[in-house]
Symmetry: C2
Subunit: 466 residues, 2 copies
């Protein structure tokens, strides 16, 4: 393998940083990957910090790019739909798509991260350093100063290129923000709700206590519970609860009794499967949820923010990791195209990718409301039923917004959002106008929806002409 | 006048802080107004820093509230429309409304600020302090520490209520942001363009060198020049120029010769009236333009951000000051309604006002594109001509988006945006569909536009049902 001349410094060895190190290593660059935390292959994972994630087509595409598709499959549990649990304990499955071969995967975050680190480390031109926290960056000279956690020693790394893959609270981004010359536009938008991770353990025999091939949701209007299966037979449960507003919130659920009563009232079937509920509730941290956007992502054509550091999103579309992985795929495309011209590579990457990152951020917020409220709304269920029927009977002719985002890795998020929203608006308009009654055939319904969608998109485009 | 028991601390004595001090003083509260800068009544105004502003109906309403309408009128020069200057020196007037009695006013920022300070200072229960810069705030105890500019002495003010009226770069807001317990959502969005103030001086006789009752615009697609009249016969000219992108920008116009050539090429008629162009260009500061949003505005029901500190906007709708003044009018309504219950007053204020502040911020960005590009676009001119005809022939039946925002102080910004955008979309759809040809009467055109607007609003509402 020929070694390229550029020295690359990657700050942050989470999912995105590890994948990027691996990919740039495969391309022959001399890569130094520096992480402030200890090597997670040597220490235990923190309890209560997003243990599993959902991996879907965009993420799978990135795994194929680096040749890890077979390895990854062993870590995955397919989920074919949402299992909705109502308050009286009844449940029903809402498929993600009319086609049963379309599914998303539950995957362990540390398991995936370890696989990426192991694979990257095997390359002779990739070096990993842990326990070194970034303190400051000179963007003009692409030089970064770190402090070693143990020795407190200051270490300076010089590089030709720096990638900031240090997540939502990015130090690289903060260094850009405080540098007034760089005029970094920035936003952080906290959600009204925070989260708490809990567990439904496996049975003694290691079996699942509930359907394993589903993402379980207990929508309760204001708040909700979800759970995803793990390979060991357990489920990781996440409570999304208002921080301080509404009747029940993290501020007032402050005793084991109150927590127990709340779960008994709202999620009795889930509570019955969680023997350690109150202990976990008070032991695990309460995680905050926010959306981070910023612009520009690149500085002097030599430093690039990528992944969560550039665009952290709320988890409700299950696309955070997938979006970060897709970043690496898109970047790789431009590295191939403009090989060696990094200013062009970074600016074209940003130009294509910023609108898509903004789109998935907004879609994820939409899905928060969809999951906690709308999944229990009859009008929403009517729309979903129709969409599932379209996808089932006319494969390829109709893709719901969810399908466009989740199962169509070649359609950019921004396009999926535009088309998906227009479709939703069209269906609701037709339902509202009494055009989709039972006497109308499914074929005719599809034709009405497609036509109305086309009109809506055309009118939106016309309105943008001035 | 009965003195109320609450001690009020207002941080920042710009336009909004001065008006708020005056109003709370009139209501009998014990008010301390603290400003970091010197008293602008004692020192000269900085050159090149937004000397004049446009005052319209929402701002005038606030002046009426505090009984200053007659005093204000003496400071105003009415502007009845936009005088558009093309590159060959031709010009034409685009009226703001079909009704000639609708106009906006050019007003001097320091003149207005001085009037508000003078009026507030006359009240025995209002105290002003200058040259004291806020360093930190304890939000739980409503206590703020200031440093005196001259003596460097630290001074602590205790209060029952604190208002942050310290503008776009608010120290009060920054103190909220760094306090993680407060979970302040925050965004700053820098515009691609910065600005530079210049001057068209009066003639030797003190006359205006161009039409005085207009806001002059030289739209050039990428960049633009505008000018507003001053009472002394001069115009304050503002160049809005890309910071570093495009052919001409602040980075590359870096010699007197380049500046002179640029103006000769793009704004020859304006250049002919600016004898000190290049001196001013290099002496006056380059101002950055950004949109600031944040949430929540109030902390523990005892501290409130209001005006630019809560929502700084770009200047292209001429609504920044008007929005801040309207804040005080809306706050005053809730003070009247919930007298003494400040938690309720602040939360209801925020609930009503946040959507309106967001709306005018977005409209101001829209107007940036409208002013620099669309005013020179034939399709836009067709739309404007039609709207002016509607407003002229059917007063009360039609208000353009601009009229809704500028001349309808009783319609909230958010409503003006929603309705205004739907109207624009309707007109463009009808023009696109060939429905507004010359053979259609004006009355019929109005009816088509109103009907299509209604349909668009209905469909948008339907789409929000889930």
């Amino acid at each position: 393998m020929k070694t390229k001349k550029e020295q690359v410094l990657i700050i942050g060895a989470g999912l995105c940083g590890s994948l990027l190190a691996l990919r740039l290593g495969q391309r022959g660059y001399d890569v130094t990957l520096v992480e402030k935390r200890p090597d997670l292959r040597m220490v235990g994972q923190d309890a209560g910090r997003s243990i599993n994630l959902s991996l879907s087509d965009r993420g799978v595409k990135a795994m194929k790019m680096v040749g890890l598709q077979d390895e990854i499959e062993k870590l995955c549990i397919p989920m074919i739909g949402r299992m909705i649990h109502d308050i009286s304990g009844h449940k029903f499955m809402s498929l993600y798509s009319g086609k049963e071969d379309k599914y998303i995967n539950s995957i362990s975050r540390p398991g995936l991260n370890m696989l990426l680190l192991d694979t990257a480390e095997k390359l002779p031109n990739v070096k990993l350093h842990f326990n070194k926290s970034c303190e400051s960056i000179n963007f003009k000279n692409t030089m970064a100063v770190f402090e070693d956690y143990d020795t407190k020693e200051k270490i300076t790394y010089n590089a030709d290129l720096i990638f900031g893959t240090d997540g939502a609270g990015s130090v690289v981004r903060n260094n850009m923000f405080v540098n007034k010359d760089l005029r970094l536009s920035f936003s952080i938008d906290w959600l009204s709700h925070s989260y708490k991770e809990l567990t439904i353990p496996a049975t003694k025999n290691g079996d699942f206590r509930s359907e394993q091939n589903a993402l379980h949701i207990w929508p309760r209007g204001e708040n909700m519970l979800i759970s995803l299966p793990n390979l060991d037979g357990s489920f990781t449960v996440t409570l999304f609860l208002a921080h301080e507003t509404g009747k029940d919130n993290f501020e007032n659920l402050n005793t084991p009794e109150k927590v127990s009563n709340y779960f008994e009232r709202e999620y009795p079937d889930a509570k019955a499967l969680m023997p350690n509920l109150t202990e976990e509730f008070f032991e695990n941290p309460t995680g905050r949820l926010g959306t981070v956007k910023c612009h520009p992502w690149n500085t002097y054509g030599k430093t690039l923010l990528i992944g969560d550091s550039a665009h952290a999103i709320v988890p409700f579309y299950g696309q955070g990791m997938n979006a970060s992985f897709e970043d690496v795929v898109v970047l790789d495309k431009f590295i191939e195209k403009y090989e060696g011209d990094w200013g062009k590579t970074f600016s074209e990457f940003q130009k294509e990718r910023k609108v898509d990152a903004d789109a998935i951020a907004d879609l994820a917020i939409d899905n928060f409301y969809e999951m906690k409220e709308h999944t229990a709304n009859p009008l929403f269920q009517k729309k979903r039923k129709l969409e599932v029927a379209f996808e089932d009977h006319y494969p390829g002719k109709y893709n719901s917004k969810y399908s466009l985002v989740t199962f169509n890795a070649d359609i950019p998020y921004s396009e999926a959002m535009k088309r998906g929203r227009a479709q939703d608006k069209a269906i609701l308009k037709l339902l509202d106008g009494g055009k989709l009654t039972d006497s109308v055939s499914l074929e005719e319904k599809l034709s009405l929806v497609l036509n109305e969608t086309k009109n809506i998109l055309h009118d939106d485009d016309t309105a943008k002409k001035i």
